[in-house]
């Protein structure tokens, strides 16, 4: 053999070993890589780095939990094949209630260790972090910067290990406690675990149970997630800004249409006549018709404008716009009244000497008006009223109505998004602040 030729290294599968405590068989999946292996039967933590398999500790597990992903099963995540080799249940205690989550150790001989964590059927793919996140402040709260992302502090709690089986890259033991802090920037999360000796950092990325079940070909049914998880991506993320952007765009379109139609509006005076109303002649047949005039265009609007020289008087005009050719009539009535005077508060006025009304969708054609005036018959002086019809006036109200109605989707999205975030943060250290009225969120 030529000693300079690259030697072909081959690492055989590790043989099963016997637990130095209870003698039962322990399968070693990552022998040489894992530091600790936990006996399936007696829960002893065994030092896997030691050729004689030294027992590190024995604890009676307070519970027994079957991992959803059976240890030894393999799945491809992020393009790499991983084997589940270890499992632990950890918990924090908040106000007397234990909240449990589960962690799987994943191993690949070339890529090393990764983790899957699961809480209420929300999953995270966790990668150990060698880079230190830089501390910062986000909206007055502690945060971290890593790469392009800023993370907000979510929760810090003392986490205890309640149950553990399989192989681990550290000397895990039941009862082990760390100070665990989470910072979120959905769908990512940064977590630190602090012991007396060191601080370790990891970065998690949200995954669904369906993705995990698919990757590891889990046979049992995939349970649906409960609630909203700290780093769960919001279905409204990016949509709020998008909805407001769309709203701004639509407002610009509406404004452009408004300007266009204002410039191109016909604005054509079709009729202008002053009529005289004599109060003393109010009895009997008092209606009259005007001469015929032409309304151009089709289904355009028609503004009716009345100016009357009423002073402390009223008139009421029952009007009909009648198509000479078809006989189609548009009936409407308008009152014009104007009162003024002085009292202890000074001078006052009520009403107006002019009145406008817009008739929408009047077909083109030849028309005349039939007018039936009314007023107080006891009055002496005649009242003159100028009636003007303008065909095709610019009409702004619909645009403002449109802009108002278009507000509904972005406001709705904003409210839903805020509700989602409120639910997310209700599980955090900041839930008191965000739900009370004096919260500064």
């Amino acid at each position: 053999m030529n000693p300079t030729a690259p030697r072909k290294g081959f690492v055989p599968k590790a043989k099963a070993l016997n637990c130095p405590n209870c003698g039962s068989q322990i399968e070693l999946r990552a022998a040489g890589a894992a530091s600790a292996v936990i006996c399936n039967y007696c829960s002893s933590t065994i030092d896997a780095t030691h050729p004689q398999l030294r027992i590190i500790g024995q604890w009676q597990a307070a519970m027994t939990i079957e991992p959803a992903i059976p240890l030894g099963s393999r799945g491809k995540l992020k393009g790499v094949l991983w084997e589940a080799i270890g499992f632990q249940q950890r918990g924090i205690n908040v106000d007397g209630t234990n909240y449990f989550w589960r962690e799987y150790v994943l191993w690949n001989p070339y890529q090393g260790f990764r983790y899957l964590s699961e809480y209420n059927n929300h999953w995270s793919f966790v990668t150990p972090l060698q880079t230190l996140p830089a501390p910062t402040t986000v909206m007055g709260m502690p945060g971290l910067i890593l790469g392009p992302d800023t993370y907000r502090h979510f929760q810090t709690a003392r986490a205890y290990t309640w149950f553990v089986i399989g192989e681990f890259p550290w000397m895990v033991q039941v009862g082990e406690a760390v100070d665990a802090a989470d910072y979120v920037s959905p769908p990512k999360m940064l977590s630190s675990e602090t012991t007396d000796n060191e601080v370790t950092w990891s970065q998690g990325e949200y995954m669904t149970g369906a993705e995990i079940w698919q990757a590891f070909q889990v046979k049992t049914p995939c349970p649906p997630p409960i609630g909203i998880f700290a780093d769960q991506p919001s279905p409204y993320a990016g949509k709020v800004a998008g909805a407001w952007k769309f709203y701004g765009l639509m407002c610009m379109v509406l404004f452009a249409m408004m300007v266009f139609f204002a410039i191109t509006a016909r604005g054509q005076r079709a009729f202008d006549k002053t009529v005289t109303i004599t109060p003393s002649q109010m009895a009997g047949e008092k209606s009259f018709v005007t001469e015929v005039f032409t309304l151009d265009g089709n289904n355009d609007n028609l503004e009716v404008n009345i100016d009357a020289d009423v002073s402390n008087k009223w008139i009421f005009l029952s009007m009909a716009l009648i198509n000479e050719e078809t006989g189609q009539a548009f009936d409407f009535g308008r009152e014009v009244s104007f009162y003024f005077g002085t009292d202890s508060d000074g001078s006052w006025t009520e009403g107006s000497r002019s009145d406008d009304v817009l008739l929408p969708n009047i077909p083109g054609g030849r028309y005349y008006l039939r007018i039936e005036p009314e007023t107080d018959p006891s009055l002496a002086a005649p009242i003159s009223a100028r009636i003007q019809l303008v065909r095709g006036v610019p009409y702004y109200f619909r645009y403002f109505l449109g802009m108002f109605l278009l507000l509904i989707p972005p406001i709705w999205t904003s409210i839903r998004s805020a509700a989602f975030e409120a639910k997310r943060w209700s599980e955090s250290d900041y839930s008191g602040g965000s739900s009370s009225s004096d919260g500064d969120d």
């Binding site: 000693p3 530091s35 070339y110 890529q111 060698q130 880079t131």
Partner: protein, 214 residues
């Protein structure tokens, strides 16, 4: 130092040096630790057996770091409280030498460097303390006591006379790191950066039974 081939003074096997700067190597056959001494090789000891070792890297593994090709020519195995880790000695094609550390398959590449600022005193090390070297702010994260478990292949210094080491690991906000070796006097500085497995483009790795090869 022009001799590239020599004979093991213990077993007579051919010992070939890949790197002209090597000071120490290990005979592949009898595990004798051999130190270059003028033109001859001096037998100074015997390397201990390798521990349970499933590093995917081996002597002869090739890879890339910052667009420079390297070959693995030696290693030091350190033992600490979580097991062992490897510092693989790299020879780059331009003749420079560096280190690829593999601790539970977390990879980092580093190079011996000079201090631009005095390092903190070994006695006053505290987690979280900062030092600046080459304008890089570095934060102390781990202080580790380690033992020389064994060595293999070509090294730029002799190791047979060493037993214990005292390292301070510093990290940064951008993936770089520094290790100060306080077991030397004066201390040694190694500066480098963490590397994704795939970014190293490693070839000629070990094979693992039951796992697809990379």
């Amino acid at each position: 130092m022009s001799t590239r081939n020599a004979i093991c003074p213990n077993c007579g096997a051919e010992v070939r040096f890949r790197w002209s700067g090597a000071v120490q190597t290990t005979c592949e056959y009898c595990k004798s630790i051999l130190v270059r001494n003028d033109l001859n090789l001096a037998l100074v000891g015997k390397a201990a057996d390798l521990p349970i070792d499933i590093s995917p890297i081996q002597i002869g593994t090739e890879g890339m770091f910052n667009n420079k090709a390297f070959q693995v020519i030696g290693r030091i195995v350190y033992r600490y409280d979580l097991g062992t880790w490897n510092e693989w000695h790299l020879m780059f094609t331009d003749g420079s030498s560096g280190w690829l550390s593999d601790a539970q398959a977390e990879y980092a590449v580093s190079f011996a460097n000079s201090f631009t600022d005095a390092p903190p005193d070994a006695g006053g090390l505290q987690r979280g303390m900062m030092m600046v070297q080459h304008n890089v702010p570095l934060y102390l994260t781990v202080i580790s006591h380690a033992l020389y478990e064994t060595t293999e292949g070509e090294l730029p210094f002799t190791s047979y006379d060493k037993e214990k080491c005292y390292f301070a690991d510093f990290r940064t906000n951008d993936g770089r790191f520094a290790t100060v070796d306080y077991s030397e006097n004066p201390p040694l500085l190694f500066l480098g950066q963490f590397a994704e497995f795939s970014s190293l483009q490693l070839k000629n790795l070990k094979e693992f039974e039951g796992w697809p090869t990379v």
